[in-house]
């Protein structure tokens, strides 16, 4: 029997989640393999929702697959592609099929994706989506109409602790908690001293915080993220460490660094857990966790 993510959050144990990106197409073999690999080693698996605005198999379908395989899915839902009717309908559907965890996101801009001319919806934003979930739970839809059969979700959201300027992000973070977020996944963190500063502020809120860990695969990849991914800062020491790794073993170095960071977060109880993102390299997540001593 799978332990629900809500129970995991309440357990006080160090929480580990990870994520799987659905495929572009209907060949689900690789995703099924990744789900099988992850479901035993993490508390819950996020299913990304057209990540980076690239059209893929839907997160809802992928979450059902996790459920069918006996795993615990966290359904990522962005506000980019659906208006409030479609979002509410998908929430009803998800709940009816046993999907009880939702991560509410604004969604990337369409211009970064592979359907650049599409219309961005953004009828709701992430905090309004969280509020909508809490409204549905009270047996009403957003129009104030009664529901015949209601929902109950464990809802989460994200924060970027290294954004610059930071305070606007923190204001939004607090709004998300007020709107009903029970857990928060962070954008990738690499500078744990700075993350400790963020946590000394964030601890005051009644919310579980999972530090985002993105596996570094090479020094150029780290530099690319610094240049192109807002809110991600890989410190120079880590880039140097990746660059110094012998040819052919940069991935193992990345696994070592990720494992080391998770171990420090866990040993020092910096936050409540980690969310491991091994974009495209899901098969090494168990190795990262082994390296972390989990």
């Amino acid at each position: 029997m799978t332990i629900s993510f809500k129970e995991t959050l309440a357990s006080g144990k160090f929480i580990v989640t990870s994520e799987v990106g659905p495929p572009k197409g209907t060949n689900l073999e690789k995703m099924i393999h990744h789900i099988a690999l992850l479901k035993e080693s993490v508390a819950a698996i996020n299913l990304t929702d057209h990540q980076s605005s690239i059209m893929r198999y839907p997160s809802l379908g992928a979450a059902l697959l996790v459920k069918e395989q006996g795993g615990e899915p966290i359904l990522q839902m962005t506000c980019r592609d659906r208006n409030r009717l479609a979002l509410q309908a998908d929430l009803l559907f998800a709940y009816s099929r046993g999907i009880k965890n939702v991560l509410c996101l604004t969604g990337d801009s369409l211009v970064v994706g592979d359907h650049k001319e599409a219309r961005g919806v953004f009828d709701l934003d992430s905090s309004q989506l969280l509020a909508a979930i809490r409204t549905l739970e009270k047996g009403k839809d957003m129009g104030g109409n009664d529901l015949d059969g209601t929902v109950s979700f464990c809802a989460g959201a994200i924060v970027t602790p290294e954004a610059n300027p930071l305070e606007p992000q923190l204001i939004k973070f607090e709004k998300k908690i007020e709107a009903g977020a029970e857990f928060i996944q962070t954008q990738a963190v690499y500078d744990l001293d700075k993350f400790r500063d963020f946590m000394s502020y964030a601890r005051q809120f009644p919310v579980k915080i999972l530090a985002g860990i993105i596996l570094l695969t090479s020094a150029p990849m780290a530099r690319y993220m610094n240049k192109n991914v807002p809110g991600v800062r890989v410190p120079q020491e880590l880039i140097d460490e990746m660059a110094a790794a012998p040819k052919g073993s940069t991935l193992s170095k990345g696994i070592e660094i990720a494992g080391r960071m998770i171990r420090e977060i866990k040993d020092d109880r910096i936050c409540d857990g980690v969310h491991v993102m091994a974009i495209g390299k899901e098969e090494v997540v168990p190795e990262i966790l082994k390296e972390a001593g989990l």
Binding site: R80, R84, T106, G107, D108, S109, V111, V112, G120, F122, D123, L124, D125, S126, S127, Q128, A131, A132, M142, I158, T160, A163, N164, P165, E167, P168, Q169, I171, K172, E174, K175, E178, A179, Q187, P230, G231
Partner: protein, 230 residues
Amino acid sequence: MIRSITSQKSMEEIERLLGDYNRVFIIGCGTCVTLCRTGGMPEVLQMKEKLEAANRLVTGYMVLPVACDEITQEALAANQSAISEAQVLLIMTCAFGVQTVARRMDKIVIPALDTLFIGKERGLGEFHEVCRQCGACIIGETGGICPVITCHKGLVNGPCGGTKEGKCEIDPQKDCAWTLIYQRLKDMGRLDLMRRYQGPRNHQVVPRPGVFFVPQEGHALSWPKGATKP
């Protein structure tokens, strides 16, 4: 001053739209498109040269003072003979001008420009889209800066994760609306306004298209059927 901001369509598209129509009358406008350099006299003359080089006959051309104004009808009448010789009108104004002319003339009209947005002039030759006429103004709580249009995603509760050193991730030329709003409210000691939750927006204050009748004296202002009073 607000201006209709335009850009010229490619000549390939203009040629495709003109198709077999050989006799063309060109119309520009003396207001926004003159300022944007997309449909003033110099651009009209350039277009004339290009069409003639492509073996089309330009029966005449004119630059209307204000194409979107109702006086356009009289200005067109003054050029009646050259216009009547043309099979088609190639219009180098914004879509407001094109439609004003189209309603007055029994001829095919072809827009030579794309209308991009209604821009507010901030400096010489610099225009910004600052309002999208949504019908539910919230700038009283956002330091006078509209996030509905200034934020690429139209977010009303704060920045997304794509904000980067005060700029928007989609274009380093564009400011992050929420960094601007934050700075403004912080300077005024009113960050409490930013902390206030904004509910989902009403997208149907005026179900599009908007239609408005100036209320007559003694009558209450009437809203289009189905619209929610803001």
